[in-house]
Amino acid sequence: MIELVGISKLYQLGGVEYPALTDVSLTIARNDFLALTGASGSGKSTMMNIIGCLDTPTLGRYTLDGEEVAGLDEEALASVRNRKIGFVFQNFYLMPRQTAVDNVAQPLIYRGIAPAQRRAHAERALQRVGLGDRMRHRPNEMSGGQRQRVAVARALVGQPELLLADEPTGNLDSRTAREIMDLFKQLHAEGQTVVVVTHDPGVAASCKRLVRLHDGRIAEDRNV
């Protein structure tokens, strides 16, 4: 369960305080499938960074899986990201020199898990996203859709509380985009909590719940 209460984020730009988020409260239940949308400048990215523990709110409380994370320092946040959150990025952000299985195993390195166990889990995660036959391939030997599936496998390998995807279909053609959304739907069906940050109404329509931000506040929160 994810609970954000009274979240505000202020940025300093040339001595002027600029609010990116103002008093946002949001509760995401376990196994929710939520689309976070909004125009650019709506505070969507800031919201995602805070949910993903990449950034801390100026004000407010954030409880993730029963743990208060708003006041944590950088080291503790890194540990929270590693254990509780699986990121999927628009540009895949894979390590170009490493094979699919090594890319997927990377988060487990930071948890101090033995190499053999890392590999076993990475292979299971790749099988789960349908890439059981591409484990030794490098990113440049794979299509965009396959790369994004490697990224999803990497997000899942640590068995996170939340799968957080930032414009996961932004760099994909419509057919591949649909495949990735189908994968998210399947993961949701298996019990995974998924949050997709997107400005694409089609992607948002694939989710169960839609939250739209506008000018740093929640403008809309409805089931799809």
Binding site: N82, Y110, R111, A114
Partner: protein, 430 residues
């Protein structure tokens, strides 16, 4: 989704059963792997980065190898002379020499020592003979000629290779016999066993009775270019010079009494020379290992100076590594951002870049060692009569450790720059 996919609940739980030290081991293992992969993907750049360290380590290994080779050769040469060997020779202060006054030891000094000093087991005089030219048939050769006695064998630990050495009876009857150094025998184109042949020294004929074991070269100087005559024969030969400049070498019974014997010798000779209390010695007593000791001092000085110079070049190499690591951190900002988003702790990123800098430096150090080794052998082969270089273990271990240290010291700044990047800024970096 065309393929059937495994279910979430079928995945085994992730077990973190490793202890802290085990976790650190995994982290180091992973950092080494990523460092090698980063270095491999920029081969030329990595090599150029290492060049400073390579040159520094190569030169230190080369110089140390050559100096050590030389010093072990010299030590070997002086090993024959035990620590209980003392040499007494005349010593002329510089000002006296300018005035044309030359001090010499007298023949009576030898008798004085024989009669008055206790604790000497062997004593042998050596008197130089001025005629340096020797001929055999149409061949001629040049070398130093000394008159000496049978005990030179024990004192200098040098023995004949063939034939026999000088004996007391040679001395007593002033026989005209000569023992040759091996170089002289070769120069005269004499057979391997030339005993019984006659050679001409000045106007006199001498019978060859033996050839000494060859000792080889040191610093381009041949040690086998000498001839030995019986002491008394040499004195008779020396009539032109009323006071030949003899040198007396003797071995002390017990090496622990060297200083005591030395004091006795000094006081006996001072009395024999009639020196007053405030007059300086007109002779000196040298222990056999003095030269070896002096050389060892020179060796360590050279090593120290070269070490200092090379230290500076390694410093420059280290700065090169730091520079490239800073570039590398900037280039890989995105990668660092991804690692941080995936939950890499600050200390992991720090360790990763620190290990990369250290691996660069150590690989450079190893290449430098191999090159220095090769260089030393190459140079030694080019210089005639140069002893083979030896690389002591401490130079190898020291270079490796020092390279590692350089990598660590100069890796800290880039590594902490990488570790301190904020994850969102690093991710957004284009």
């Amino acid at each position: 989704m065309s393929e059937p996919a495994a279910k979430l609940d079928t995945l085994p739980p992730l077990v973190e059963d490793a202890g802290a030290s085990r976790k650190l081991l995994y982290a180091i293992q992973e950092c080494l792997r990523s460092a090698l992969s980063a270095i491999r993907s920029h081969r030329l750049r990595s090599f150029l980065t290492m060049l400073g360290i390579i040159i520094g380590v190569a030169s230190v290994i080369c110089v140390i190898a050559m100096v050590q080779g030389m010093s072990s050769r010299i030590t070997q040469l002086f090993e024959g002379l035990g620590s209980g060997t003392l040499t007494l020779q005349a010593d002329t202060p510089f000002e006296d020499r300018l005035r044309g006054k030359i001090n010499r030891l007298r023949l009576e000094d030898l008798d004085e020592l024989r009669a008055r000093v206790d604790g000497i087991s062997y004593i042998t005089p050596a008197v130089p003979v001025p005629a340096g030219q020797v001929t055999w048939g149409s061949q001629s050769a040049a070398g130093q000629i000394f008159g000496t006695t049978a005990s030179l064998q024990e004192v200098q630990k040098m023995f004949p290779r063939t034939g026999r050495f000088l004996t007391k009876s040679d001395d007593d009857s002033r026989r005209r016999v000569v023992v040759l150094g091996d170089k002289i025998r070769k120069d005269l184109k004499m057979p391997e066993r030339p005993e019984g042949e006659f050679v001409q020294l000045g106007r006199e004929w001498f019978k060859v009775i033996g050839v000494m074991e060859p000792r080889g070269d040191i610093l381009g100087q041949n040690l086998d270019q000498f001839m030995l005559l019986p002491y008394e024969t040499a004195l008779a030969f020396n009539t032109a010079q009323a006071r030949p400049d003899i040198q007396i070498t003797f071995v002390v019974n017990d090496p622990d009494t060297v200083d005591n014997v030395r004091q006795q010798v000094i006081s006996v000779i001072r009395r024999a020379h009639g020196l007053k209390k405030d007059e300086p010695n007109d002779f000196q007593v040298q222990a056999s290992d003095t030269i070896a000791k002096t050389f060892a001092q020179i060796t360590s000085m050279v090593t120290l100076v070269v070490g200092g110079v090379v230290g500076i070049s390694l410093l420059v190499g280290g700065i090169g590594i730091m520079n490239i690591m800073l570039v590398s951190v900037t280039e890989r900002t995105r990668e660092i951002g991804i690692a941080k988003a995936l939950g890499a702790p600050r200390r992991f990123i720090l360790l990763q870049f620190l290990i990369e800098a250290m691996v660069l430096a150590v690989i450079g150090g190893l290449i430098g060692m191999v090159m220095g080794f090769g260089l030393a052998y190459g140079v030694a082969a080019l210089i005639p009569n140069f002893p083979p270089p030896t690389v002591p273990w401490w130079a190898v271990v020291g270079s490796a450790l020092f390279s590692m240290l350089i990598g660590m010291v100069f890796g800290i700044l880039p590594a902490s720059k990488a570790a301190n990047l904020a994850p969102i800024d690093a991710l957004r970096y284009e």
